[in-house]
Symmetry: C2
Subunit: 227 residues, 2 copies
Amino acid sequence: MKTMKKERLSEMAAKEIKAYMKERHLKEGDKLPPVSELMETLGIGRSTLREALQLLESRGALQVLNGKGTFVKDIKPFHIQTSIEIDNKKDFLLEALEVRKALEGKAVDLAVVHASDTEVNRMQTHLNRYVEALKNNEREKANAADADFHQTIYQATKNELLKSIIDSVWDSFYEFWNEPFGVEDIFDTSYPYHETLLQAIKERDSEKAAAAFQQIMESVRSSIENI
Amino acid sequence: MKTMKKERLSEMAAKEIKAYMKERHLKEGDKLPPVSELMETLGIGRSTLREALQLLESRGALQVLNGKGTFVKDIKPFHIQTSIEIDNKKDFLLEALEVRKALEGKAVDLAVVHASDTEVNRMQTHLNRYVEALKNNEREKANAADADFHQTIYQATKNELLKSIIDSVWDSFYEFWNEPFGVEDIFDTSYPYHETLLQAIKERDSEKAAAAFQQIMESVRSSIENI
DNA sequence: TCTAGCCTTTCATACAGCATGATAGTATGA
DNA sequence: TCATACTATCATGCTGTATGAAAGGCTAGA
């Protein structure tokens, strides 16, 4: 005899809901039926259903908003939860920097190999936006463009796990980094290497890319040191 | 006025429970008070409490067993969830391998610099256990010793964030890897490089260490390819 | 003396009903 | 015209009740 059912009802319901989403090809932002309805169609009680929904929410697959409804958020294969407690900001940032070096260095390496032409073009676009914003002294825009630039690189690795981990390390990194530097500094110390990096990716030159990336990280390091 | 409470009650409760665990220095395997009791001490309803517990469970911090109680499982700051079934095991393992190369490569690099004498000795001990187990054809013991060996290296980096990320990547890696190879293969292809790696750490030779580590990863790669 | 069967205790699991609160759209009235 | 009040829709949260799983203890029959 096979192992009998032992799984919790809420987990079964979660799978059911996921199957439902897949079946109806629900995309990000789409709305799920209200709880009362799901309750009936799945034939389970409300608290059980809520547990199932919460399970999916904690995995980042759903987002449930009070008074509005339940919405599809994400269908990524990985979800990373962090609960990092830090006592020393600077130490944490330095630790995180080492991790970023490893992870993003690998990403650059993979991007050199796997980036498609479209992706390279997209990087160029973001980099142009970046330099434009720096020239106009628009800090917010510059940061956004920079993030997009890096995102595109990580996308180009074609490695979902790597990308997910980098994303969450970024999140915790920037949570504790209130960018202590002025635009001019970035323009001088960091921007030129971005340009070199992109060039290297275009030329599929992994050594050049690695060197440029190390320079970027070095400028971040000195920013941290000067906190 | 400050931002009023917007957080969900269940999340607040989850934090409260976590604080409770920390406060009482609960270790892995310890038992939490039963729901009925927690319900009262936290002053919340049962369904809310259940949601809080489930939240912690989905993070891997707790394990709740029907008819027995709620138990502390783990207090890791970094947790990777693989949301659905991975459709292609091999692809996932290859992706994870790239991440491991980046992360653990960095760890080896840091360990060469920061490992204390005690840590180096500990590595040696674990490695001895490892080879012993291999000789006696004891698969289980060999794996445990191997894990301990690597753990000690990551410990020696003195980088908590790096260590916790590596830990969770390991967890998801081994969840999908049912080690398809025999002990003899390991003895030939993988073990010698472990010895070289340790030598390199002892000699504080980062290049040699990096090379040995790459060899180990290479042997893992070919194991994966042959699945 | 041993042990299978039954009870009890301790817990989690699940359901149903009810009250509250958030959000958004719509109607009302000065 | 525009703010205010009403209302529908949905999630949030609490409680009473009952079901079910695990473990330990008790008792009767071999």
